[in-house]
């Protein structure tokens, strides 16, 4: 081998390596690890989805809705059901066009046996082995707290089949310094998955998931927590499954064989979705589905909710979601037009 041969080979490879310098160029926009591409959370240009007013015949109804099938009917419950008398309804065959005939149920949440002056604020509903249960947050009056109330924990209220009332148990499941599991509750086979989102920073909530046998939902010792790779009985080992979310709601979409998580980031106006093939994820990057219609709610209004509902007339590949406008403006929800804060139902494409 001649020296000149070595020189040619070495020079060729040297030039190639220098030219290469190990780089990567994205060829399309299907992936962005920042989570903001393709209509992610930062996308403020999502089209406004006004949809239709859910339960249009109920004049005083405000706040977002959660729902569950009970027999041939669907029970709808306002997030304000504990403070608004009659914010629970049975609806026969609800549809995406909001043309519902609702039967008001009156006050269906019994007082807490823990404290008589406590407020039982509904979170989400789930079917257990024997009945339907409501996860709730228990608030107590506290003049030093924001809005005059303070959470002391999360509890469970099984539905009494005879009375139709949700009856809180004698004990809370989690204290208020835990993630509020039950913000979303989902039945998958024999298991119930409960999701809780807790503030992790300014306008940012991290969400966690736990699961339990559908026959043991009232026993906190029976819950297992996802630590990022496995399920553990140690609640302290739980790991966030998504970050910078709001109060997430998770349902299974059989058409796409995926779990769909919807939420509105704290004090935001955009409905966001993520998807996964398992209840614990891993979850896709967030995609902005639509902006809430807040035009009539006045300055300072924001969007809340994004609970999913099983209603008729939803095209394949879409999801029915409700949201409601909210505001911190004094008297905003009472002095303004009530319609502006009523729950609205929109049908949005699953990303």
């Amino acid at each position: 081998m001649r020296p000149s041969d070595f020189a040619v080979v070495a020079a060729s490879l040297g030039v190639a390596v220098l030219f290469a310098s190990a780089c990567v160029v994205k060829l399309d926009h299907e992936f962005d690890s920042s989570g903001t591409a393709d209509g992610g959370e930062s996308n403020a240009d999502a089209a406004v989805a006004a949809g239709c007013r859910a339960l249009p015949g109920v004049a005083s109804l405000t706040g977002d809705l959660r729902s569950i099938a009970i027999g041939d009917d669907t029970l709808f419950l306002s997030e304000h059901a504990s403070s608004i008398d009659g914010a629970a309804f049975l609806v026969r065959a609800p549809g995406a066009d909001c043309a519902w005939t609702a039967t008001p149920l009156g006050d269906v949440i019994d007082p807490s046996p823990i404290r008589a002056d406590a407020i039982v604020a509904p979170m989400d509903l789930v079917a257990t082995d024997t009945t339907v249960a409501l996860y709730y947050t228990l608030y107590v009056p506290d003049s030093s707290a924001a809005f005059g109330i303070r959470s002391i924990g999360i509890g469970l209220a099984p539905r009494d089949a005879m009375t139709g009332h949700f009856v809180p148990t004698n004990e809370l499941l989690w204290s208020a310094d835990r993630a509020p599991y039950g913000g979303s509750a989902l039945r998958v086979g024999d298991l119930v998955y409960v999701y809780g989102c807790v503030t992790s920073g300014f306008l940012a909530d991290d969400c966690y998931v736990a699961r339990v046998s559908a026959s043991s939902v009232a026993s906190v010792a029976a819950y297992a927590y996802f630590d990022g790779s496995r399920w553990t009985a140690n609640a302290d080992a739980s790991a966030a499954i998504v970050q910078s979310a709001g109060s997430a709601n998770v349902r299974y979409d059989a058409a796409s064989a995926r779990f769909v998580m919807t939420y509105v980031p704290p004090l935001a106006s955009t409905i966001v979705a993520r998807t996964a093939f398992a209840p614990e994820g891993p979850w896709s990057v967030p995609t902005a589905l639509a902006s809430c219609d807040l035009a009539a709610a006045g300055a300072g209004a924001f969007c809340a909710g994004a609970h999913q509902h099983a209603v008729a007339g939803v095209p394949r590949g879409s999801v029915a979601v409700t949201y409601a406008a909210a505001t911190f403006t004094p008297g905003g929800g009472s002095s303004g037009p009530m319609d502006a804060f009523a729950p609205r139902l929109v049908v949005l494409p699953i990303p």
């Binding site: 081998m1 041969d5 080979v9 490879l13 190639a16 390596v17 290469a20 310098s21 190990a22 780089c23 990567v24 160029v25 994205k26 060829l27 399309d28 299907e30 992936f31 690890s33 989570g35 393709d38 990022g228 790779s229 790991a239 499954i241 796409s256 064989a257 995926r258 993520r274 998807t275 996964a276 093939f277 994820g281 891993p282 979850w283 896709s284 990057v285 995609t287 590949g317 699953i350 990303p351």
Partner: protein, 306 residues
Amino acid sequence: MGYSYFWSAVAPSRSSFVAAALAASLCFASRGARADDAQVTWIPGSSREISRFVSASRDAPVSGLVFGPRVRATAAADFAIVKIRFDGVALRAGFDGLFDLEHADTGYRGLPLPGRGNGPMLWRGMYRVSLALSAERLARAWLGPRGAIEIAMTVGHESDHVTGDTFDDAPRRGDIVAGGGGEFAIYEVALRKPIAPKLDVWGRAQDRAYFRGPIFHAPGIEGGLRWRAWPHLWPTFSLFGEGLLVNPNLNGAKDGWFVAALAGLAVRGAAGELMPFVSTDAGNGKGLLINRRELRVSIGVRYAPF
């Protein structure tokens, strides 16, 4: 998507045809050969007459390190368990497997080695067993002294995983799920021909037909040049391309593709070949990065004992 349906429809018949052809070749080749004519060699080297060491495919069973853009390491083994030579042909029953670690993000901290790359570590495992039939006498007659003609049938498995929970490339609609892994059969035909006293050209066409997994078929073609320039230094160049024809009914997945070019300088010795290389590839990634379509320029080094 139309292609996917097409390949799905013809998969069984194509597989059957190739299997039948392979079996017929075996029968034809062994006809008249007496058992005491056969030369049996245990662990004779690579599972193929035409080695895949120089392949630009990410599925080639070759150990190596890639320093960038993503730190990657592959531990691989490729060997024939037995080689039976008889009546002008050689039959190799072989095994190959690889364990591929790749960081999800580009760059590294400190040294460009696994564990020092950025992002969660992804890994994929693949193993395959094969029967390869090399028509040695025919190849020498047709293609010259280093010529080779080889057909092979392989069955295998690939699975793709992530360590930890921070990898959130969860599928969006249209993505290929589960990293594209599954169980498959590969049928291939390869040729090698000397085109100059020290220069060989080789090529291989193959199809990976899946029994299970989000991909129906992955037809591919590759080829390259090996310049036996010096006893211990062989400049090498290869090209590879494959399509990923997927099941559109699974997450509405879209077909994918992958093309690559590799240039390296193989340093040959008694302990095998060591080859620093530069590779440029484009299209879908591998494993759980399968839905990242990128143009990547990589540098690395690979090693093969045979």
